[in-house]
Amino acid sequence: MIEYLIDGPLWYFSLAVFCIGVLWQLARIVFARSKTDLSVARGSATGGAWRNVFSRFVPHHEIAPQIRIQVVAGYLFHLGLFALLFFAAPHVLFLEENLLGFGWTPMPHWAFIVSAQFAFLGLIMLWLRRVVNPVSRLISTLDDHVAAILTFVVMLTGCFALLEGSTALRLLHRFTVEIWLIYFPFSALMHTFTFVPSRAFTGAWFGRRGIDA
């Protein structure tokens, strides 16, 4: 019964909430009424927007030494998670069979494990930093903690099911994924998508002024 629910209706429901939720949140941003800037631009807003979306992946060297923990742990986590989400063999197979109808060459098993280790270490260190540093402790909301811990739980249940020999463990992982998908559009996890318009807006603003942000 549970297997039927998790592999069936709950899966479709969570996928629907995720897709509609994300698109809805993005639409609210992208199609929001905006006032035209009546000042005369010095540089290109579009150029600035595009450039900023990519340039912010590398912190300004003036500040890089002060934010080493966030940058290192942040990339460990995000790159590790991206790799294991889209290039781990069980996930590639899952996406092919359940969503896309096509797949691609997954990474070797050892790379999957190493990506997961990077992701775990990065996430643990990032969450600990959030808790340990007075600035992030002050500005963090409940949402930030839930997002981090929920993501960790999804990854952990995935790790538990690595042997791919137990239906119960696989279902546990899938179930936590579905909860995560439902939570996603209403949480800080939306930054996954909204960082693009945000960087673009700011890049455009600075780009009009001729400044490389």
Partner: protein, 422 residues
């Protein structure tokens, strides 16, 4: 709900646009912005974290736009916003933020925090939660024409001095001139050498220019306090004066926020584009230099550096021009480690220097600039903003530093080739 709270919240509501929604959805509360803010780095007080200063608007956005906020409201378990939500942020936003925008440069998800803080200021200003000093300055700006209460009479007196010193005529209310030069009260009161300098330079370069008796003030207290209505009023004064004299260009003087107010925000405050071009004095001087109309002789021999005024460089875009102008005249020019668009603020911008309550905090924040200057071991710091100059002079004095503060326009004027005697 009190009237002032209602006014404040209504104003804040009007400030929630697509950008605000995007920014608040993206912020993951990482705290990187704190490391970019001199009010945080020099005090280590987490409350000066830039994104924390936006709390009043974030709370409103969360309540009225986010899923959980709307659900809580529907279930009746949402905490209403109180006056304290605005009042408690007055000190953080007005004393602890100079609108320098350095935070906006470093946010990894691209939030323009400085822009949001300005929106918060709008809400606080309309609700009446603004520092006394700024309220007074704004009142004077609206009633008298200058936040420091400088009347046209004072301007005329200064003009007389300039004419006596230079032997040149300072054009006033000349219709059809190419350039309308604006001034900042600071310059009139503390650095009238600026007016003398532009008189000499424009004569040397053959620039057709004028001052206006109806629009002489470039500074915008409305911008500093965050009151967009008043800011628009003050910009309109300049536009009216410029239109009356039918000038093609308006020059923003050596003042940081004036440039922001006039060049970038002004058309949006008044709701229409200008019929004239706005240039910062440095932009004009650089154009003249590029056209070969500025002939200079000699060099500054002191070891000196340039302090980038935030509103002119980072938030204004005038980054290359000061260096194009200064470096050819400086034998021993060195850059601060963090310079250009990533410079550190002097600590007094955005209205902080007009806010007596913020005096101690401003001096603490100056420690960042002090460390930059000390590291270079320079004889002089050149800048192109009279407010930065004033703030740094005070900081230098309090810290007993042996550093001179110089204005860039003055330096250029001091090296002009005397065409008349040739």
């Amino acid at each position: 709900m009190s009237e002032r709270l209602e006014r404040g919240l209504e104003t804040l509501r009007g400030e929630i646009d697509g950008k605000v929604k995007s920014f608040f959805s993206s912020c993951v509360h990482c705290g990187i912005c704190a490391e970019a803010c001199l009010f945080y780095t020099e005090t280590n007080d987490p409350r000066y974290t830039p994104i924390y200063k936006t709390e009043p608007l974030r709370k409103l956005w969360q309540k009225e736009y986010s899923f959980w906020g709307k659900l809580s409201s529907a279930l009746g378990i949402s905490k209403p916003m109180t006056e304290a939500d605005l009042a408690d942020w007055e000190e953080l936003v007005y004393d602890g933020c100079s609108m320098c925008g350095r935070c906006s440069m470093v946010c990894p998800v691209g939030v323009d925090i400085s822009m949001i803080i300005f929106k918060v200021k709008h809400g606080l200003a309309k609700a009446g939660f603004s520092p006394e000093g700024l309220v007074g300055a704004t009142q004077r700006a609206v009633d008298i024409g200058s936040p420091m209460g400088i009347t046209m009479k004072a301007v005329e007196a200064t003009i007389k001095h300039v004419e006596a010193n230079t032997g040149l005529k300072v054009p006033l209310d000349v219709e059809g001139a190419d350039y309308l030069a604006l001034l900042s009260s600071n310059e009139i009161a503390l650095y009238p050498e600026y007016i003398e300098s532009i008189t000499r330079i424009f004569d040397h370069a053959g620039v057709s220019w004028t001052l206006s008796s109806e629009a002489y003030e470039a500074t915008n207290s409305g911008l500093q306090i965050g009151n967009k209505t008043i800011a628009g009023q003050l910009v309109q004064r300049v536009v009216d004066g410029a239109e009356k004299l039918k000038v093609k260009n308006v020059i923003s003087p050596e003042c940081g926020h004036a440039y922001t107010a006039l060049r970038w925000e002004g058309p949006n405050f008044i709701g229409k584009a200008y019929p004239f071009r706005v240039v910062h004095i440095l932009e004009l001087l650089d154009e003249l230099r590029a056209e070969g109309r500025l002939e200079t002789t000699g060099m500054e021999h002191e070891r000196l550096t340039f302090h980038d005024p935030c509103s002119i460089v980072r938030r204004g875009g005038v980054e290359a021009q000061p260096r194009n102008l200064l470096q050819p005249l400086a034998e021993n020019f060195v850059e601060m480690t963090d310079h250009g668009a990533m410079n550190w603020c002097c600590g007094g911008g955005g209205g902080v220097s007009s806010n007596e309550r913020a005096e101690e905090l401003k001096l603490t924040a100056f420690n960042k600039k002090k460390s930059q200057i000390d590291a270079l071991n320079v004889d002089a710091v050149v800048t192109a903003c009279s407010n930065c100059r004033m703030v740094m002079e005070e900081g230098v004095e309090v810290n007993e530093m042996e550093v001179e503060l110089l204005g860039l326009t003055e330096i250029i004027a001091g090296h002009l080739v005397d065409k008349r005697s040739q």
